[in-house]
Amino acid sequence: MLIKKPTDISENEVTPKADFDNSRALISKSRRNFLAQSSSLMLASGLAPSTLWAGNKIENYTKSSYSIKDKPTPYEYVTTYNNFYEFGTAKGDPAVNAHLLKTKPWSVTVEGEVGKPGVYDLEDILKRQQLEERIYRLRCVEAWSMVVPWIGFSLADLIKQMEPTSKAKYVEFTTLHDPEQMPGQKRSTLKWPYVEALRMDEAMNPLSLMATGLYGEEMPNQNGAPLRLVVPWKYGFKSIKSIVKIRLTEHMPKTSWNEVAGREYGFYANVNPDVPHPRWSQSRERVIGASLFAAKRKTDMFNGYGEQVADLYKGMNLKRFF
């Protein structure tokens, strides 16, 4: 029988290897202190947790009026509790493995029904955008939620710059496919590369955000660096990470979770407390960072963004188009 030992760690007795193995537990105490004390050791070992890679401050961003008033989830939880199967299926895997991802240089291929197809350097794309901070609630299909202060720019602006043709009805996004940088892709859990898509009017909604950072810093790799989508009224899996390709299409693209389990994960995936997942209820959500005895939060229709997005689905049967 395997007996697990408690991992009681104090900050001054860690060794570089232990840092790596226990990065989740360590980061959750007092990350900044810890990093300050041991970063040189970790850098020397080459085994530093990927949180160290972030930390570059983003200058020049405005505060968006789309932000919600809720208190953001602590940084250590936002960066250590991630669904990013490209780095492993456990919540802590991305924080441990994402340092393998090289985000500089990064280019994005733009193709399909656009007037300006091509391969664009991310730096060049960013030069043309106005960055803003938006505090959004992220609701996962697994019935938990967190509040994240994203930094990014409007997806609508980016699409306009691509000059969509009249045939462009959908926007398809693709994540990087490179098992050397994304070791989770060595296993066939999902079909790689990860693909997500929005209807054109959803993509053009002002809430749809292309995020490049969070908490005033460049995006940590485990959160989808260097460029990810954030669609706050949909379940988290729609908000695709580490985007390398954007394609505008006439027909509805095939999307990853929908392909692997279409009965459970619809194309729309709008947050909806009245439509349960086939295996669990969606009416309430565990709040990440809340106390152990706190009651679950009631899930809001469209994750609370109904005022801005309900019109997109007027007349649609949301039980059928879940």
Binding site: I3, T73, Y85, V260, A261, R279, W280, S283, G289
Partner: protein
């Protein structure tokens, strides 16, 4: 393995197994009080108590095959204790759900349970396990006679339900429940004759 051990040795061994069986519980409590349960503590508690419930269940089921393999009566002496620890960790698992996940609210349960097949299955398996736990004393065993053994054959069904429960709550990555399923399959293979009798009662197996 020694065929005979003294009563004192057996008591000492039982004490060691008892304390060892409480170690996972101590770790969970330690982590809970030191805020080491991570970003989603309720989920962490669910998984850790559930994992240990399954591990103890499989360990319990391993005792009679061990007896056969080593031709020693010793493993069977620990079976009841391990079975009760299975019940202990399953009860913790249930308590986490009832108190932390559902906040003891009947409304919440009426909403969640019908929409979650894995919870229905878990509750069914737990109620059967309760029946085995309350009939586990020597006195009741004696009074029930032959029917005790029939009742306690339910443990095979409970184990299957426990593993299916794990499969049903899993999102896409079935590696872990598959390991439990394979271990259970091996343990059930040792009971092939009994299982045959249960499912094909007409066919007398000698």
């Amino acid at each position: 393995m020694a065929k005979r051990i003294s009563k004192r040795q057996l008591t000492a061994l039982k004490a060691i197994v008892f304390i060892a069986s409480l170690l996972p519980f101590s770790c969970i409590i330690w982590d809970a009080f030191n805020e080491l349960l991570g970003a989603d503590p309720i989920q962490t508690l669910h998984f850790r108590t559930g994992d240990w419930a399954l591990r103890f269940l499989l360990t319990t089921l391993a005792m009679s095959p061990l007896q056969r393999v080593f031709n020693s009566p010793l493993p069977i002496r620990f079976r009841r204790m391990l079975g009760l620890f299975t019940f202990f960790y399953t009860s913790l698992h249930f308590a986490v759900w009832l108190v932390l996940d559902q906040s003891l609210s009947l409304d919440n349960m009426l909403e969640d349970v019908p929409e979650s097949p894995y919870i229905i299955l878990g509750l069914l398996a737990y109620s059967m396990l309760c029946a085995l736990a309350v009939t586990s004393t020597a006195g009741i065993m004696q009074r029930m006679g032959k029917s005790w053994f029939t009742l306690h054959k339910l443990v095979y069904l409970i184990a299957i339900m426990g593993v299916v429960h794990f499969f049903w709550l899993t999102k896409l990555d079935y590696a872990e429940p598959t390991v439990y399923a394979m271990l259970l399959a091996v343990l059930l293979a040792f009971r092939w004759r009994i299982i045959k009798v249960i499912f094909m009662p007409k066919e007398k197996v000698s």
